[in-house]
């Protein structure tokens, strides 16, 4: 491969044009996704640990289960999302009469995940600063019998000033790096599905913009 990872980030058109001449391979994209999954798992460990502290008073060991679930969820979820994003864009490209295999699309979408790995790592570092400042409510076993108290405790955690600040920063970082990924995906879809730049931009841009709008909505109703 003539073009490096740096080309993928700043000159994705050239990178994918070169990649089209190669045999389809999911090894490197899977490693990128794995890196993203590990970064997500690290961030998920921090957040899961907070939730675990909240629930530990209800049942001993509950915190560990929650933390483990969050870590595994982040790790596996990244791979699942890889498939979902690819599926959505692949199906969308049929509107523009795209041609190309799903495997190639999966490969290029996987490459495009690279900026999000950096974004997740940055979020993780920022979280290390914010997490100690978050006050975690403690729930007793008796309090766990009352759903209102449990709901109130979760709300209290989510509305902790440090937690809210971290959530908003994480959202902005995630959004910026998702758009960077979207930029790569547009070039990827253009080559993988043989689309015009305009059709590829619509193919990627519409679901990404919708997803970002959903993220903004989520943060406003939090």
């Amino acid at each position: 491969m003539k073009h490096s990872i740096v080309d993928l980030l700043i000159r994705p058109g050239a990178f994918f044009q070169d990649a089209m001449s190669k045999k389809e391979s999911l090894t490197l994209p899977a490693l990128v996704i794995l890196a993203g999954g590990i970064a997500g798992a690290m961030y998920g460990y921090l957040i899961g640990d907070l939730t675990g502290q909240l629930l530990n008073g209800m049942m001993p060991g509950m915190g560990t289960i929650v933390t483990l679930s969050t870590v595994l969820g982040a790790l596996i979820g990244t791979f699942i999302f890889w498939g979902i994003w690819t599926g959505v864009m692949y199906v969308f490209s049929f509107v523009f009469k795209g041609e190309g295999t799903f495997r190639r699309t999966l490969e290029f979408i996987g490459y495009g995940y690279l900026p999000q790995v950096f974004g997740t790592l940055i979020t993780f570092v920022i979280a290390l600063y914010y997490i100690p400042r978050i006050h975690v409510p403690l729930l007793s076993a008796a309090a766990a019998q009352n759903p209102d108290i449990v709901t109130g405790a979760v709300k209290a955690l989510m509305h902790d000033p440090a937690m809210m600040e971290l959530s908003q920063i994480a959202m902005i970082i995630s959004m910026v790096f998702l758009l960077w990924s979207a930029n790569i995906w547009i070039f990827g879809m253009q080559h993988a599905r043989k689309l015009s730049p305009r059709d590829a931009a619509l193919c990627v841009g519409i679901p990404v913009v919708l997803y970002i709008l959903y993220m903004v909505y989520s943060i406003t109703v939090m």
Binding site: H135, M175, G205
Partner: protein
């Protein structure tokens, strides 16, 4: 001549000696007089023992016949004095006093004199002998018994019960009876309002405590009634009841306040110091509306705090749509009066309260999202147009 004179002198001496023998033989002391000599006053008792000027009372004179075989007839018994007026009739009929018998003569008297010691004379005339005289000493003393306030609050508070510590003392030389203290005043509730003290012997001091609840600034009237014998006497005392802040009262102060929020429930911890000079009993801390007290510490009982003592407290509550809540501190004084004090405590917005705050949109993330999206979309539109040309 000389011899004649000498003989005459001897004859005169002999004649005088003979005449003395004749007189002694004719005037031998009669038996009745001898018997009267053995009649004596065996006791004289005044009731009351010491008179106030003007007091009425009695004098009882006991006369005993000291003869073992001879009786004696008494004609008349009387009492005479300038300062102790006899109001009863004298004994003016004959009466017989048998051997070894005792007879009491009782006189009703009124003390007409001023302070001092007097000696009324009791006289008893015998039918067959002269009279018997006896001076029965009596004291007239105008000194009343003392009512003293030993301790009372510097000031009173409206509707608050306060204790007044009084003392009844008897500086007189005799016992006074039926001592009763009446407590009254306008707008005053006294408990008890009438205190029976009973007999107060000479030199005794008896504490008398009572509680006063005043609804207004007024005067407390203390009336001490007592009997000296059967003569009623009164001692009055006025005690001003003024409202104000008691300089010595307990003064619990909340400090070292720390607020935490757990699962929408606030925990406030802190210390209560008693900065007053009296003990604060049953000190309690609780949160008032808009706070809603919650278990486990809806109300925290700190207990009794002596002066300069302190205790810690913790209260738990929920609160919505507020940034501060009033913390109520209550305590009781020694009389059971309840005092309360309020202190506002700021609480951080969290939990349910944060819900209300979160209805405001997070402006910064939205603006950032719009800007980034606009840059991304705008950039691609420009890129596509250039690419088209």
């Amino acid at each position: 001549m000389k011899t004649v004179r000498l003989i005459s002198l001897i004859c005169l001496i002999l004649l005088a000696g003979a005449m003395v023998g004749v007189v002694a033989a004719d005037y031998t002391t009669p038996e009745s007089i001898v018997a009267a000599d053995k009649v004596y006053v065996s006791g004289a008792t005044y009731d009351p023992a010491v008179f106030f000027p003007g007091d009425k009372g009695t004098l009882t004179v006991d006369v005993t016949n000291g003869n073992t075989v001879t009786g004696i007839v008494v004609n008349h018994a009387s009492l005479s004095s300038d300062t102790l007026r006899t109001t009863s009739r004298p004994y003016d009929t004959s009466t017989s006093l048998g051997p070894a018998q005792k007879q009491s003569f009782v006189y009703s008297v009124t003390a007409d004199g001023l302070d001092g010691t007097y000696f009324p004379t009791f006289s008893l005339s015998f039918r067959d002998a002269d009279s018997l005289y006896y001076r029965a000493m009596v004291r007239i003393d105008d000194t009343p018994i003392e009512l003293t306030i030993l301790d009372k609050p510097d000031t009173f508070s409206q509707g608050k019960k306060k204790t007044i510590y009084a003392q009844v003392a008897n500086p007189r030389e005799n016992t006074v009876k039926n001592v009763i203290l009446d407590v009254s005043g306008t707008g005053i509730t006294a408990t008890p309002s009438r205190v029976f003290v009973g007999n107060v012997v000479s030199g005794a001091r008896i504490p008398v405590n009572f509680s006063v609840t005043a609804d207004q600034a007024t005067t407390l009237y203390l009336v001490l009634n007592y009997d000296n014998g059967d003569n009623p006497h009164t001692v009055n005392m006025d005690v001003p009841i003024t409202f104000g802040v008691d300089k010595k009262q307990a003064n619990p102060v909340i400090s070292n306040v720390l607020v935490k929020s757990d699962a929408g429930t606030y925990h406030i911890t802190g210390d209560v110091n008693n900065a007053g000079l009296e003990a604060a009993n049953t000190v309690m801390v609780t949160a008032l509306s808009p706070a809603v007290p919650q278990d486990p510490y809806k109300t925290y009982v700190v207990g009794a705090l002596k002066p300069d003592d302190f205790g810690s407290f913790e209260v738990t509550f929920t609160a919505t749509n507020t940034e501060s809540i009033p913390l109520q501190l209550s305590y009781k004084d020694a009389d059971g009066n309840v005092y309360t004090a309020l202190q506002d405590v700021k609480i951080p917005v969290s939990g349910a309260a944060a819900d209300a705050k979160s209805t405001g949109l997070p402006v910064i993330p939205i603006v950032a999202a719009i800007v980034v999206l606009a840059v991304f979309i705008g950039g691609w539109i420009i890129y596509l147009r250039k690419n088209k040309k």
